[in-house]
């Protein structure tokens, strides 16, 4: 089969790989139709995630058709069109039975500090991802869901991670009516988090980024008030100023490990790998909210230490909330939002890249060329 393959930092290519096989009675093999490159894939692409092995196929956002099922699979059959959540989880452990699917304890030998994801290094279990013609899907009775007839393919693929994560991030903010919410990052997760904040009753939603074309999308898609941090000497002071020197009630970090805004922080983490991630956005979140506020962290960070301003968080009495999103838990309510016309997830898609051109897709997305916000990966016939 044709598959995207990691060759080392900044290098990927498409090559022939053996088709995956059933390795567990509850496995399915899915023929991928549509995938996506996630912002967090860029951390792998840049060599930031420990134990990212040459030969691995990335991709935790994908939909497709069931091609084969293991002997114990009851809920799917060959030919079903399925959306597959980014998390791999067993459905039966302490965490899964409590809805914490992203923290499953039965699927990742390599680490206890994180659950399992498709195509996201051996640190999250060593599973191949969906930027390929076929993918092994463990626990087929637990994760995949048949795509409802009314749901577009491009909307479905956004539900497998980005939309669910943004929506989850807004929930972790514990937003109450009239709250001022500041979202750092106008990438896909930030846009969805900003949009979702309104659903939870925010009175004001502010989005911060350095890319004007993304801030434009934050205004049109998420109805947000936007600021380009490069235009201000100190974005924290500006945020205090525009909130009557109070600070936001809730901040959402939708940037994560490769945050810009500090040359030293970015280079020491993204380039030199001396930190698990550049905590610029997280530190801005901590400093720009009011005392007693909640900071929701959706940005992905690596497992090594990062220079987070924990003293400020403590002294301000902040509540810090975070987790990898349990995707499927969000779906029933998000289906209702989409059907009610509250949002159209695929409105943020900017690029549709054939699998064979995925190396260019990674570079365009990574370097923010051609006003790229969300690139999809077209794998099979749709």
């Amino acid at each position: 089969m044709r598959a995207m393959v990691y060759r080392g930092p900044y290098k990927v290519r498409v090559e022939e790989k053996p088709k995956p096989r059933i390795e567990h009675p509850n496995d399915a093999i899915v023929r991928v139709q549509l995938g996506a490159i996630c912002g967090s894939d860029l951390h792998l692409y840049h060599g930031m995630m420990p134990d990212t092995r040459v030969g691995t196929t990335f991709g935790h956002e994908f939909i497709g058709v069931v091609d084969e099922v293991g002997p114990s699979v009851q809920s799917l059959k060959v030919g079903d069109r399925v959306m597959v959540p980014a998390n791999i989880y067993c459905g039966s452990c302490f965490y899964c039975t409590r809805g914490l699917y992203s923290n499953c304890h039965n699927v990742n030998p390599n680490a206890t500090a994180v659950g399992a994801l498709y195509g996201y290094s051996h640190t999250t279990g060593g599973y191949d991802g969906g930027q390929a013609e076929f993918v092994r899907v463990p626990f087929a009775d637990v994760g995949p869901t048949i795509i409802p007839d009314w749901l577009d393919d491009e909307d479905a693929v956004m539900l497998t991670d980005a939309l669910s994560t943004g929506y989850f991030g807004a929930q972790l903010g514990d937003i109450t009516a009239g709250d001022t919410v500041v979202v750092f990052g106008a990438g896909p997760v930030g846009l969805y988090a900003a949009k979702s904040s309104w659903f939870m009753g925010a009175g004001r939603v502010i989005v911060i980024d350095h890319l004007d074309y993304r801030l434009e999308k934050a205004r049109t898609f998420a109805h947000a008030e936007t600021y380009n941090f490069t235009e201000y000497d100190d974005i924290v002071v500006h945020l205090k100023q525009i909130t009557d020197w109070f600070g936001a009630d809730v901040a959402i970090d939708a940037v994560g490990a490769e945050a810009d805004g500090s040359f030293l922080q970015h280079v020491s983490s993204a380039k030199l790998k001396l930190q698990g991630g550049s905590p610029v956005a997280l530190n801005w979140a901590i400093d720009s909210v009011r005392k007693g506020a909640t900071v929701s962290v959706m940005g992905a960070y690596g497992p090594i230490f990062s220079a987070v301003k924990f003293g400020d968080a403590m002294n301000k009495g902040l509540t810090l909330r975070m987790n990898q999103a349990p995707m499927k838990r969000q779906w029933p309510r998000l289906f209702e939002h989409i059907q009610a016309g509250h949002l159209k997830p695929s409105d943020i898609v900017t690029h549709r890249i054939p699998l064979e051109h995925i190396a260019e897709g990674y570079h365009i997305f990574s370097s923010k060329l051609d006003d790229c916000i969300k690139p999809l990966v077209v794998v099979g016939e749709r």
Partner: protein, 189 residues
């Protein structure tokens, strides 16, 4: 403003409802799917087992964190450990917990050894690594200037480092090899 007991008032609910599609539909925490954080529902996941069947382990013992009391029943098999990088990674897993920086730094060292080994091995194949096509850098020809010139981007101050990270080691190896050849020739004379 004076620091009083009140915080700034946003727009009214009516104004927000009129302006924002879906405003406030999840205002009630009961409508938020991840509230409360934990909802015990053992029958709601689709699992029809108390503990999953075990996946066969394969030819070599599957590496695992020493913070696990056992090998979890299901795991990925995408790129088994091999060679020098595999030895480094296995040492990281066998010796250090996830709480130790050495664990992660060794894994990153293993990644670099893995990548270099793969690059060198590729030179002996019909499809050697091609830094032009594999980095996708040709897209710079179409979009590179327009994406950066005249735009207030914070990342242009470090993007110049990327080509050095990608090509720098190759240049250094090339220079080293050239110096070695020159030294050998000098010695032969």
């Amino acid at each position: 403003m004076p620091y009083t007991a009140n915080k700034p008032e946003p727009a009214t609910r009516e104004e927000l409802r009129a302006r924002i599609p879906g405003w406030g539909v999840d205002l009630d925490p009961a409508d938020r799917p991840s509230v409360p954080r934990e909802r015990f529902d053992p029958n709601g996941t689709g699992a029809h087992w108390d503990f999953p069947d075990r996946q066969p382990e394969g030819d070599q013992p599957r590496e695992r964190s020493i913070e696990h009391g056992m090998l979890p029943p299901v795991f990925g098999t995408s790129a088994p450990l091999h060679g020098v990088s595999g030895a480094i990674r296995r040492f990281a897993y066998d010796r250090f917990s996830e709480g130790r920086a050495a664990h992660w730094l060794l894994l990153i060292a293993g990644d670099r050894v893995d990548a270099w080994g793969a690059h060198l091995r590729s030179l002996a194949t019909l499809r050697p690594d091609n830094p032009i096509t594999e980095t996708g850098v040709v897209s710079e020809l179409r979009h590179g200037l327009t994406a950066r010139v005249g735009r207030k981007r914070a990342d242009v101050n470090h993007q110049w480092i990327d080509p050095i990270l990608v090509a720098g080691p190759w240049v250094l190896v090339g220079l080293g090899a050239a110096a070695g050849v020159r030294a050998l020739r000098r010695r032969q004379r």
